[in-house]
């Protein structure tokens, strides 16, 4: 029988939540790497038993762990993320030049076809690639060395490359997103990059529609329609129908168009999910009501999804990498909160229930659909 494996990264370890296809009874495994920050756990689509985890803390730095048995056992692989050449500087918060310094791996994106190929998005922003299952890492430095690099500036969480999207059929095309530089697109497998931010407007910039400098929080794409991209920006929910060539706003009547994650239904390319957050200084849901909003029209028209979610006194946040969908016939939607809850909806958002309520603050959620 089919089932799901939910990979949860938290401030104090990783957890693996498993269930059969009904998604009612859950087994919880963890903490793995207890006490360490686990920014992301990701599975290889090409070899579902292969998992990668980004493990770090302030004392001992960055490790990458790999499992080849679905998370039962783990072994550290390579953790040398040395920038290519002389890294140079980006802007610091006060506008002064600041040397590029590696801090941590925010996001791991395994190849769709090759279990030994995996990308890593890091802080300070850069893209690395491993072709040997994580043993060694090479920077794809064309991104950091894009001419705009010295003008990139950190967001409040650091200058992180947090989103990597691989085109489902064109191996040359990669999208990345950086806070606070914006979206960049490569059409040659990461050698060269172009900004893909036309149509974004950010009130915090002196030039509101600048080519780079936008605080993009998250991108999403449906593999059946890879030219359509969705974006949750610092403010504004956006859509592109030409592979990032231009963007238009689809926030509609959301109670707030600030938020972090955005996800697309596994079988309906026009069904999109966001979690509105009050503002950039109030990182909790409007009115203390935790609501996922769903659009079935590719944006602009949104409906609140509340059944099973706390509708009073709720002041958690949902971070950018903490929402995912499974691909069972009835699409499951999952998200984790800074309060340590992981919620599941087995019916595309209509009904929600907590899988766990008391984990450490959740940084990331990924889901594997197992046959």
């Amino acid at each position: 029988m089919s089932g799901v494996r939910v990979l949860v990264g938290t401030r104090k370890g990783a957890f693996i939540l498993t269930s059969d296809g009904r998604r009612e009874q859950w087994q919880v495994s963890g903490p793995h790497f207890g006490g360490w920050e686990i920014y992301h756990v990701a599975a290889s689509p090409a070899e579902p038993s292969r998992l990668f985890a980004s493990q770090s803390n302030g004392w001992f730095g960055q490790l990458i762990q790999r499992s080849d048995d679905g998370g039962q056992t783990w072994a550290p692989v390579g953790n040398d993320f040395t920038y290519d050449g002389v890294p140079g500087t980006h802007q610091w918060y006060d506008g002064t030049p600041h040397p590029w310094e590696f801090a941590r791996v925010w996001h791991l994106e395994p190849s769709i076809t090759d279990p030994d190929s995996v990308y890593a998005g890091v802080e300070d922003a850069a893209l690395f690639h491993s072709a040997d299952g994580g043993a060694t890492w090479q920077e794809l430095s064309g991104l950091r060395e894009h001419g705009s690099g010295p003008s990139w500036q950190p967001g409040a969480g650091g200058m992180c490359l947090h989103t990597i999207m691989l085109h489902p059929t064109d191996p040359g095309r990669i999208y990345t997103a950086i806070s606070a530089a914006g979206v960049f697109r490569s059409d040659d497998a990461g050698k060269t990059w172009q900004p893909a931010n036309r149509g974004l407007r950010s009130g915090g910039l002196p030039d509101e529609d600048a080519e780079v400098g936008h605080c993009v929080h998250r991108l999403a794409m449906h593999p059946a329609r890879p030219e359509t991209l969705y974006m949750q920006k610092h403010w504004d929910v956006m859509r592109s129908d030409d592979g990032g060539g231009s963007w238009h706003e689809i926030s509609g009547e959301l109670p707030s168009d600030f938020g972090f994650p955005i996800a697309v239904h596994a079988h309906e390319p026009d069904t999109v999910y966001v979690v509105p957050i009050t503002s950039d200084s109030e990182h909790y849901p409007p009115e203390g009501r935790l609501r996922v909003y769903r659009s079935r029209t590719g944006g602009n028209e949104w409906e609140p999804l509340t059944r099973g979610l706390p509708q009073r006194d709720c002041y958690v946040n949902v971070l950018r990498d903490a929402m995912a969908v499974d691909s069972l016939d009835s699409c499951g939607v999952y998200f984790g909160t800074t309060g340590g809850q992981v919620y599941v909806s087995p019916d595309a958002g209509d009904n929600w229930s907590p899988i766990v309520r008391d984990l450490p603050s959740v940084l990331s959620v990924e889901v594997q659909t197992l046959s």
Binding site: G58, W59, F60, Q62, P76, N79
Partner: protein, 98 residues
Amino acid sequence: MIRVVLPAHLRALARVDGEVELQVPGEVTQCSVLDALEVRFPMLRGTIRDHGTGRRRAFVRFFACEQDLSHEPPDAPLPGPVVTGAEPFLVVGAMAGG
């Protein structure tokens, strides 16, 4: 034999329970002890000192014989009791938390 005490997170990473005992060829210094440690436990590379520069990570300290040796040159000889194995070389995570 050089005795090394690791902090709990690094003992877990290296899968050791107690002190680590190392054969250190040549002069016994911070650098040669850490070199030998990383040869025996490659998973510790990058956790105590940076890959590229070899610099001690900011929140890691080196103690021995009731002295803080963190700011000593990496190639300075370690105290005699560490060299003879009478005293351990301590790798310490700074007292900070969250």
